[in-house]
Every structure is written in C-alpha cells, then in structure tokens.
C-alpha cells in the first residue's frame, strides 16, 4: 500500500505505554492561553466536594485541602436528582473578586501572555445576529453563570501550582476493538475561559478534551490509519482524518499536531480561526414561524436566501492560532503520561462534575463530568464506543477489508449463479404455461382451467420479475465490489476525505477582517439604536413607532453599505415592505380583490376556449 513506508510503526507486542508515547500528540496553543493539561491529584487537592440536592440546597461534603482520590470515589447513596460536583474556586467576596481581577491583569502583563482578538469578531454577524448576541449576553444574568472573578482566581491558582511543580499531563488509554487499536489521550484543564478570556460562548471550571489515534495490525506491526479530535458541532465521521491526509493533518516526527482553541481547548486539525455558531433555543411556535417565513420567501416570493442568514444563530470565534505554547515530543514542554482504564478508581467510580455546578439549565456554564461519563452520569460515547464515536465501527482495518471484499465477491458470485439457474427454470415454466394457455383458448369446457392457469401465469411472471430485479442488483453490487477489490489490490487508496460530510475549516482572512469602520459600527450600533429609542420616548413620543421604524431602516442601510450587501438589503427590505402593504391592501379591499380575481379567471378561461374554437 502506498504511503505506508513513511508511517511510523510499532511492534504489535509493544507495551501500552510505549504505544501511547509513540503516537502522543503535539498540542499547540494560542498566545494568551492561561490553562494547560494538569494532573487530577493536584487539581483534586485544590477542590472541595459538594452535592446539589434536589430541593436546590447545596452541601459541602469535603473541605478544600482535605480532598483526595480515595475520598472522591467513596460510595455515597444520594436521592435521584442529586448532583455531585467539585469546586476549584471557593465563593469569593466582592473585595476578593476585585483584588483577584487586578492581580490577574498584572499577571498577564508580567508574563507577556496577552491575547489580541484582532479586528473582525464583532462585524462577523449581521445586525440581527448581533441583537441575538446581546440577548444571549443578557440571558447570562438570568441563567447560572461562573463569575468573572472565578476565572481570574483559577488562572492565578493554576499558575501557582505550576510554579511549585511544572507538569503537563495526559491520561492515556488503550482499547482493542474489531481489529483496531484505539489510543485515547485525555486532557484535564483546570478551567475553560473561552467566554471571559476570548469572547466565546461559555466559561466553566474544569475541561476534559480528548484526541484519538487508531492503529491496525499488519505483519505483527501496528500502523496508524486514522486520527480523531473532539471538536464543537462535529460528530462521527467528521471527527476523523486519515494519517496520510497531509493537507488536513499536520504531523511532526510521526506525532499528530493538535491546534487547541483558546480558552475552549477544542481540538482542530489546522491552525486558524474557526467560526462557531450557537443557535438560540427558540419556542416551537417561533421556530415554525421562521421556517414558514423562509419557505414563503424562497418558494412563494422566489427570493434567494443565503444559508447563513439565520438571525437566531450567534457567531462566535474559536481561536486556534497555534502561536502560543507547544507541548509534546521535542517541543518547549513535554508530556508526562499517565495510563488509565476502567480499573482506575477516579475514572469509573466518580460520576459527578469535575468543577462548579453553576445551575445553568442549558449546561454551558456547568463543569463537565470525567472521561467515562456525561454530565447526567450516563456513560460517555467516546469512552464505551471509541470506534463508533469516530464513525469507525463500519470501517474494517485495511488488511481485513481485502479479505472481506474477496469473501463478499465470492458470495455474490455464488448468488449470481443461483439466480441464473432459478431464472432459467422459471422462464421455462412460464413458456410451458404460455403454450398451454394458448392451446386452451377456443375450448369453452376448459374455461375454468384457463382462468386458473392465467392466475398462475401472472404469479409466475411476478416471481420471474422479482428474480430478475435481484439479479440486476446483485450484478451491480458485484461490479462495484470487484472494482473496489481491484483498486485495493493495485494499492490505490480512497479519497482521504470521502467520509467527511462537514469539514471544519478555518475562516479565511479575507472573510474575517472587516475594515475598522465596520467593526466600530458593529460595536456601537446596537447601543446607539437603544439611545435613539430612549430619545424618541422623551423628545418626540408622538412619532415613536414611525421614528423607530425609520431609525431601524437607516441603521440597516448603513450596516449593509459597510458590509458590502447594499443591493441585497435594499431588495429584502423593499420586498418585506411590499408584503406588509399587500396584506393591508388585502384587508381593506378583499371583496374587490376577489371580484377582480374572478373576473380575471373568467376572462382567461373565455380567451382560452375562444382560441380552442378557432383552432
């Protein structure tokens, strides 16, 4: 097979740790990232253990400084609805919060580890998505959220821990399933600071991320074939890249390179800035109304619609620039691996959250559970089904595929012969029946027998038709399998991206960078609109609605000029106004409209019939 020579291989009898080390990833972070993978022992020591009772009350089970793995995994009998959780940062007073935020600012400046978002984040969404964004920010006041000072305290706390003993840990797990050897690399971060540090969607205490490498065995050697990274909004096949897909997968000395999202720690195959979208959960009626409007707009009015024009989606950016710290073999910092499995007590016996339970109903700000469980305590898919998680459960290892194909081709060949035989017999039977039926014609005394035979002819004919359909399908399948078999025998590989339906690609710079005017406008427009609304209420209440509508139109036009979508905006606005006007005309003149419609139809039919008469 082509390309195999350049792949790193390991003997099949290598130890689990040797295998994990040979294929461990290189993780590249974005400048400004404050958290790197930590070991669970030090993290747990810094935490207190709590339970959230079904009645809403919370109770501390183990104090900070007293918690260890043994205490964490102690079996506790709790009623349904109880949530166990760790707390990395204890509740803070207002003074402490202010001090911590000031210390965090100084700390960032001292370390010169400062993140710059660059121009473009605000202008990436249109006017409506920005309104939705503002609403989303406001919902944080109502939903449970992790306070900003917690992020500062976590950053300082983590920094102190690293100062005492600098370590970068991953938890490695090896699973053998269906001919594949899956290597899983789990990373625990003390905190996810995507929202507070990088204008992202959420913050939460602790963060678990995972990267998988899939190997197959050939000639007593293990060879890497696929790599899968956990990422936002992608599932199954879309998570994995083939080892030799060099356009999609960066390798460094035989180690896959991961670009970690700033604050979110989501894993990406390519460095860049990724536009993540959060869809607001809408009430069913609003969602249906939106669908109906889209349908009316596209099909009834015949207007074009851009896919990304959904106003209920808020654009966020996940910065995976890879310009910060790099951890891995031969990098500035190296990994300290720790092996885990179901036998590891903290993996299997602690089902609670690994950080603060912020009581966020949509879970964005609640801490995640460990590698083996979901937040609700159910088993995590990526743990119990490492192949299915990356869509590999249907993919045999390459050496097995050849054998499977040969077996399948042989089976289909046999089926082909069987079908040919059956078809021949049935066709012959049908001929005989045909002759008999023909001979019976003109003999009234054979009418009953003729009728029975006719029914039999129809039934046999149907059977023959079905056999021929099966033969055709069988032949087509056999042809495609034979083609594939020949291709594999010649050593030709498939398109490495044929399995991907949605490819995560960084947004190009030209799409990201709007000019300063657009960015400034995006930043101030919403507030300006609100100020204008207030001014109308106070100074010209008699023109409130008209003034507001006019203001909205002016804002939208300015926005469209800055974003280069003037024509589309003018068209959309005018068509919407025309639809409203049509509705008003319909309400006021429905009788006349019906009469005009009927007259029109009458004239049309009359003209058609006259034309027909003339012809």
């Amino acid at each position: 097979m082509k390309g195999l020579a350049e792949r790193p291989v390991m003997p099949a009898n290598a130890t689990d740790l040797e295998l994990l080390r040979r294929f461990e990833p290189v993780v590249r972070y974005t400048k400004g990232e404050p958290f790197y993978p930590i070991d669970i022992e030090r993290y747990i020591e810094e935490c207190s253990l709590w339970i959230h009772n079904p009645d809403g009350s919370e109770q501390q089970l183990v104090k900070q400084g007293e918690l260890c793995v043994e205490k964490l995994v102690e079996i506790r009998e709790d009623p349904f609805g109880t949530v166990q959780f760790l707390r990395f940062i204890e509740p803070l007073s207002l003074t402490e919060s202010a001090q911590l935020l000031a210390r965090q600012r100084r700390h960032k400046q001292d370390n010169e580890n400062i993140f710059h978002a660059g121009v473009g984040r605000l202008a990436r969404g249109g006017f409506l998505p920005r309104m939705a964004d503002a609403l989303f920010s406001l919902t944080l006041l109502l939903r449970g959220r992790v306070p900003a000072a917690v992020a500062a305290a976590a950053e300082l706390n983590y920094h102190d821990l690293q100062q005492k003993d600098e370590k970068y840990i991953y938890y490695g797990r090896l699973v053998r399933q269906n001919g594949w050897t899956a290597l899983q690399y789990w990373f625990l971060y003390a905190y996810n600071s995507w929202r507070s540090g990088f204008h992202g969607v959420n913050d939460h205490e602790s963060d678990w991320e995972m990267v998988s490498v899939y190997l197959y065995e050939q000639d007593e050697m293990l060879i890497p074939e696929w790599v899968a990274y956990a990422s936002h909004d992608f599932h199954g096949d879309d998570l994995r890249r083939r080892w030799n897909d060099h356009q999609q997968l960066d390798l460094e000395d035989g180690h896959p390179v991961v670009y970690a999202g700033a604050g979110s720690h989501a894993s990406y195959f390519q460095r860049g800035e990724y536009q993540a979208e959060v869809s607001l959960t809408l009430p069913k009626w609003l969602s249906s109304a939106s669908k109906a409007w889209n349908n009316f707009w596209r099909n009834t009015l015949g207007q074009s619609m851009r896919q990304e024009s959904n106003p209920f989606r808020i654009p966020f950016v996940d910065y995976a620039r890879g310009d910060g710290l790099s951890i891995g073999p031969d990098q500035i910092k190296e990994w300290s691996p720790v092996q885990i499995s179901e036998e590891t007590p903290w993996v299997s016996q602690y089902r609670g959250l690994w950080g603060l339970f912020a009581r966020d109903p949509i879970s964005g700000e609640n801490a995640p559970a460990g590698p083996m469980y979901n937040r609700d305590g159910t088993p995590r898919n990526s743990w119990f089904d490492p192949l299915g998680y990356a869509g590999l459960d249907k993919v045999p290892p390459p050496p097995a595929e050849l054998t499977l194909l040969e077996e399948r081709c042989a089976a289909l060949d046999q089926r082909k012969a069987e079908l040919a035989d059956k078809i021949s017999k049935k066709a012959s039977e049908l001929h005989t029946m045909g002759i008999e039926a023909k001979a019976m014609q003109g003999n009234p005394h054979l009418a009953k027998a003729h009728m029975t035979l006719e029914k039999l002819v129809i039934a046999t004919s149907d059977e023959l038709k079905e056999l021929r359909r099966q033969q055709s399908n069988n032949d087509l399948l056999l042809q495609s399998l034979t083609r594939r078999l020949n291709r594999l025998r010649e050593g030709r590989q498939d398109d490495p991206r044929a399995h991907i339906r949605h490819l995560a690609t960084p947004v190009s710079t030209s799409q990201l960078r709007f000019n300063r005017a657009a960015e400034t406008w995006a930043a101030i427009s919403l507030s300006l609109l609100l100020f204008g609304f207030v001014a109308l209420i106070y100074f010209a209440p008699q023109f409130l609605w008209g003034g507001l509508a006019l203001m909205l139109i002016v804002f939208v036009v300015i926005e469209s000029i800055l974003r280069g979508t003037f024509i589309q905006t003018v068209t959309t606005t005018t068509v919407i106004l025309a639809v409203i006007s049509s509705a008003l005309l319909l309400i006021h003149y429905w009788r006349q409209i019906i009469v005009a419609g009927l007259i029109g139809m009458g004239v049309f039919l009359l003209l058609q019939k006259i034309q027909e008469l003339r012809q």
């Binding site: 990436r124 851009r306 799409q511 979508t565 068209t571 025309a578």
Partner: protein
C-alpha cells in the same frame, strides 16, 4: 462562492465575469416584458411630474411673460403663495428629471437603475406605511409600489440585470 479580490478591492466573482462575457458576446439581451411595462409606467410618471410642473409655471404666467413674477417669495420665515408654488414646481421638475434618468437606464437594463428603482419604491412604501399608521392612507400609491416591487423582482428580470449573480458574490460575508 469564491470572491476574487484585487488589492483589497472587491471585484467580480467568476460567475459575474461569465455573465459579463455572455452579455457582451450576445450583444443584446432580451428585455423581459416586465421591464418594458415598468419602464413605460416610469415614463408616464415622468410625464405626470413634468406636466404638473408645467401647469404650475403656466398658472404663474412664466410661459406667457418669459420670466418669474417679481413678487417676494418669502414673508418673514414663511413662504408666500408664489414661493410655495415655485418650490413645488422646482421639486416636481427635479423629480421628473431624476425619474426620467432612472427610467431610461432601467429600460437599457443597467444595474444601478434597478437598485435605484428598488430603493425608491422602498422609500415610497415606507412613507405609505407611515401614512397608513397615522390615518392618512394612499392605497393607490401603495398598490402601484407593490406591483412595481413584484414586477422587478421576478427571476428573469433579476437575471437580465445580473442581480442574482451579485447576491451570490456577497455570500460568505456572513
């Protein structure tokens, strides 16, 4: 759709380029019926504006005497009757000339004329809706604007003006 940029300046996409090439190859594009009808309506509006302006000027005796009456246009800060009539005449003349330019270019199927007509109709509809909200509806003007919008928004009309290509061009801006 891939956008082609030239030194940061937005240029045509490949589709738009093809459209322009086809346009020049074929020489004359077939004018849809809606374009002709709208063009004729716009011309009728031009005639109406100019005729009204001419009537006002006739009433003021401008055509008979060859000059504007030498009475004052303003009385304090308020316009006199002559001032109001002159203002109306000039307003109608400007409106007529602008509409004439748009109408001619619309019949010649120039993109900017389509955009101008659309924007104009949009403003007319917005004013009509405001009037409706304040209890002074003008249903005839509303109906005319609605017919105009749907007429110039038909797929074939958009195609001859290259509007659909333009919309694809901005895809990806989000």
């Amino acid at each position: 759709m891939r956008r082609i940029t030239d030194g940061g300046k937005l240029c045509f996409t490949e589709d738009r380029k093809k459209f322009m090439i086809n346009k020049s190859k074929k020489g004359k594009r077939k004018r849809p019926l809606a374009v002709t009808v709208v063009g004729v309506i716009a011309m009728a509006v031009v005639i109406l504006y100019l005729a009204l302006a001419a009537l006002i000027l006739l009433r003021l005796g401008v055509f008979q005497t060859g000059h504007i009456p030498s009475e004052p246009w303003l009385e304090g800060s308020k316009p006199t009757q002559l001032g109001t009539l002159l203002f109306e005449a000039v307003y109608l003349l400007i409106l007529g000339v602008v509409t004439l330019i748009i109408a001619i270019n619309f019949i010649l199927m120039r993109l900017w004329a389509w955009v101008a007509l659309m924007a104009w109709t949009g403003i007319t509809l917005a004013i009509n809706l405001m009037r409706y909200l304040y209890g002074r509806p003008d249903y005839f003007s509303m109906l005319l604007a609605v017919v105009l919008v749907f007429a110039i928004n038909q797929a074939d009309v958009q195609q001859v003006f290259g509007i659909q290509h333009r919309e694809e061009e901005v895809e990806g801006l989000g």
